[in-house]
């Protein structure tokens, strides 16, 4: 971070803007988690942070280090790919556990198993 002063201002501005956008999306997602009523609605909210939210942060990181080191820095693409491939696993585990619980408790608002 000591090289921060070497960063041209357009890149600094753009990085800051992207970081803020990503952080805002994560915040809105957390707010939704607080606001929605049922489990199935709540599970939608944090996906804002885990998709476009993290996307903005990673683009900001790529831009910052690419400009600073004057060469393309592309590691972050791997983080994106791994996020996309692994989040469905956690989400499915959570959703199926909730569905199983609701079915055994006999709640009417979930569809029966086929």
């Amino acid at each position: 971070m000591t090289h921060l002063a070497e960063l041209p201002s357009w890149a600094a501005l753009l990085t800051a803007l992207l970081l803020l956008l990503g952080a805002a999306l994560a915040l809105i997602g957390s707010f939704g988690l607080l606001r929605f009523g049922s489990f199935y609605e709540r599970i939608h909210a944090p996906t804002l942070g885990s998709t476009l939210g993290i996307g903005f942060v990673l683009i900001a990181s790529m831009l910052f280090f690419s400009v600073l080191q004057s060469r393309p820095v592309l590691h972050e693409v791997l983080i994106t790919v791994l996020m996309v491939v692994t989040t469905p696993i956690t989400l499915m585990l959570l959703a199926r556990a909730a569905l199983y619980r609701d079915r055994t408790e006999g709640n009417d608002d979930v569809p029966p198993s086929t």
Binding site: G32, L48, T51, G55, P88
Partner: protein
């Protein structure tokens, strides 16, 4: 080819991951990465991963672009729903979607797409009836959603993976 190098695409992907992590394409990195990828795929073999095929990279590319667009749009839509003051006049619910896609990697890709677009969650897959149960945050018309998933994603996934 299959005997000496099973899953060539997976091996190539692992090698690419190695090279990106090392940020170098020097002969040393390529050789070490190549040996490691081949060994990793060999070690995967006892798990007997299902056979898959991958065709039409161009269709895969269009699908990726379509999905990227949809991610941006659905993020915007869900953010609006969260920030909108009146939360009552919105119904969320489950939709069961009959699928034609049966390729295991295609289904995995569909699960990633559906999870990556906020507002839709993959809940349960029924392999006997080949249907998938989704939960949708802003459910206006079931038929529209079934058509969207089938037309936008499933058709292209069948092209690529079957």
């Amino acid at each position: 080819m299959t005997r000496w190098l099973p899953f060539p695409l997976l091996t190539a992907t692992l090698l690419a991951v190695w090279l990106i992590l090392n940020e170098s394409v020097s002969p040393g990195a390529v050789i070490l990465g190549g040996v490691l990828s081949i060994a990793a795929v060999r070690m995967l073999m006892p798990l007997e991963p299902p056979e898959g095929r991958f065709r039409r990279p161009l269709a895969a590319l269009t699908l990726t672009l379509v999905v990227l667009g949809d991610i941006v749009r659905s993020n915007n839509a869900v953010a609006r729903i969260i920030l909108r003051p009146g939360i009552r006049n919105r119904t969320s619910g489950f939709v069961r979607i009959p699928l034609d896609l049966r390729a295991p990697y295609g289904l995995a890709a569909l699960a990633c797409i559906i999870t990556a677009t906020p507002g839709t969650i993959w809940v349960e897959y029924d392999s006997a009836g080949n249907t998938v149960l989704l939960h949708i945050l802003d459910l206006v018309d079931e038929r529209v959603w079934i058509e969207t998933i089938k037309e936008r994603y499933e058709k292209r996934l069948i092209e690529v993976f079957e």
